[in-house]
């Protein structure tokens, strides 16, 4: 369900846990970009080594990472299969109608598989070691320079944090609504197209109505607590840049340089 965002965080005190969320976000992003450039076994090897070090430093047991892959397994197989069957060039090993397997396509399929793994691993490390709130704070820090052009960074961050705070609430409410309408005789997830389209209405109207009520009550409560606007507030949480961040950046930048150097 919402596992990709919530309930995934594992409290801890590891090197990775202690890094600032803005570093972790930017480094994950950077890592994905570097993956674009890797194109041979050695360069992938460098990235794989890096991710293994990161996983070890996160102090999270490997089973959590394997669990992260499991739901995606079919997608990975499908994409890799697509790559293998549709790729052109190289020596043809097998052919049937429009499908062909070549030695090149096999190699490319392998690389795509590695790419998948690398990206899933880095994002899993990020979400296992960083709370959604910290991610929102990280986004706020990263976007801070935009304040100069009057982009409402703080408003956006507050909005995001309220949204994240209400996701579990709305999910609970959705389940209750679902049950209430089920007991009024609605079959969700089956029947004809028109039936399914119609079934969305008794679910979504109450969900939205509830959300609007939350927004109104919350506005009153926020104003009663002295809220005026988001740009003039002090901040309770601050994630300071630490030595761990600097060291991690150095390692990642070196690894990135190596990949560029090693690629064909």
């Amino acid at each position: 369900m919402t596992n990709f965002l919530f309930g995934r965080y594992l409290p801890g005190n590891s090197w990775i846990h202690q890094m600032s969320p803005q570093s972790k976000l930017l480094l994950s992003f950077y890592f994905v970009i570097v993956i674009f450039f890797a194109n041979n076994l050695v360069s992938y090897g460098v990235l794989a080594l890096l991710i293994i070090v990161v996983i070890l430093l996160s102090g999270v047991s490997i089973t959590f990472f394997l669990k992260g892959i499991r739901p995606l397994i079919w997608l990975i197989i499908f994409t890799v299969g697509l790559q293998i069957l549709f790729s052109s060039g190289g020596t043809i090993l097998w052919q049937w109608g429009p499908f062909s397997i070549t030695n090149l396509s096999l190699i490319n399929g392998g690389f795509i598989f590695i790419r998948f793994l690398l990206i899933i691993m880095i994002s899993t490390v990020l979400t296992l070691t960083t709370t959604p709130l910290a991610i929102a704070d990280g986004v706020q820090t990263i976007l801070k320079p935009l304040k100069r052009v009057h982009f409402p960074v703080d408003t956006l961050a507050l909005m995001l944090s309220i949204a994240l705070r209400f996701v579990p609430t709305l999910m609970d409410e959705m389940e209750t609504i679902l049950n209430a309408q089920r007991s009024r005789g609605v079959d969700f997830g089956s029947g004809s197209l028109t039936h399914r389209v119609k079934a969305a209405v008794p679910l979504l109207v109450p969900l939205f109505t509830g959300a609007i009520n939350h927004a109104e009550n919350l506005s009153t409560a926020m104003e009663a607590r002295g809220f005026t606007d988001s740009e003039h507030r002090s901040k309770y949480r601050i994630y300071r840049w630490q030595l761990k961040d600097t060291l991690s950046w150095i390692v990642f930048l070196v690894a990135g340089g190596l990949v560029l150097y090693l690629r064909k």
Binding site: M1, T2, F4, L5, V32, I35, F36, L75, T79, L82, Q83, F86, S87, S88, P98, I112, R115, I119, I120, S123, T124, T155, L158, M159, L160, I162, A163, L164, F166, V167, L170, M171, M174, L178, F188, G189, L193, R196, V197, A200, V201, L203, L204, V205, L207, F208, T209, A211, I212, H214, A215, E216, L218, S219, M222, E223, F227, T228, D229, S230
Partner: protein, 197 residues
């Protein structure tokens, strides 16, 4: 008195973002699978935001959906299509912002001419949904022609008809769905919102 409306707008946007997050992660309220296709309900949500909060806010909500799609294409893709197409931020974000804008403009223009709110909403929703489909299709084609680098280097030449086929065949029922369902949701909600403000 204090900027009540600003606070309310902030919170309404936050709730819409929360709903979009839910819809992108819980199939039951985000997607309706029909055979091999999967029709998304989320354009309806964007149009509802547009009708209730205005064009700009609708575009913001559309943009949020786009950003979520973009990020998820990397870390938690929902379909092979996502891994191929939506890893490009322009393909994943821009068309979704346009849903809000197009639906908003259409709704404002229609409201002046058509008396029945539900009809205006319906047409705006169909146009918004089609905007999404057409732009995604167009951008896939543009980036294919421009030979943009890809995350998973798939042979686009063979895949293009397939991609266009999937997006296109999804697009039509999606537009119909939006046209039918959006007014059924937006009209009672505009009543709820009007009562309080």
């Amino acid at each position: 008195m204090p900027k009540k409306n600003n606070t309310l707008r902030l919170n309404l946007l936050a709730m819409f973002i929360a709903i979009i997050i839910l819809q992108t992660s819980i199939p039951l309220i985000g997607y309706i699978p029909i055979g091999p296709l999967s029709i998304t309900i989320i354009p309806a949500t964007v149009v509802i935001a547009t009708v209730l909060l205005g064009t700009v806010d609708g575009a913001i909500i559309g943009g949020v959906w786009g950003v979520i799609t973009f990020i998820r294409a990397y870390i938690w893709p929902t379909s092979p299509l996502a891994t191929i197409v939506f890893v490009n931020p322009i393909v994943s974000v821009f068309p979704r912002i346009m849903i809000g804008l197009v639906a908003g403009w259409a709704y404002m223009a229609l409201q002046k001419r058509i008396k029945r709110q539900s009809l205006s909403v319906s047409i705006a929703a169909i146009l918004g949904s089609l905007t999404n489909t057409i732009l995604v299709l167009g951008l896939i084609y543009v980036f294919y022609k421009a030979k943009a680098p890809q995350l998973y280097q798939i042979n686009m030449e063979k895949l293009l008809p397939y991609l266009i086929g999937v997006v296109g065949t999804n697009g039509i029922p999606e537009a119909i769905f939006s046209g039918v369902v959006t007014p059924l949701i937006a009209v009672p909600l505009s009543r709820v919102i009007k009562r309080r403000t």
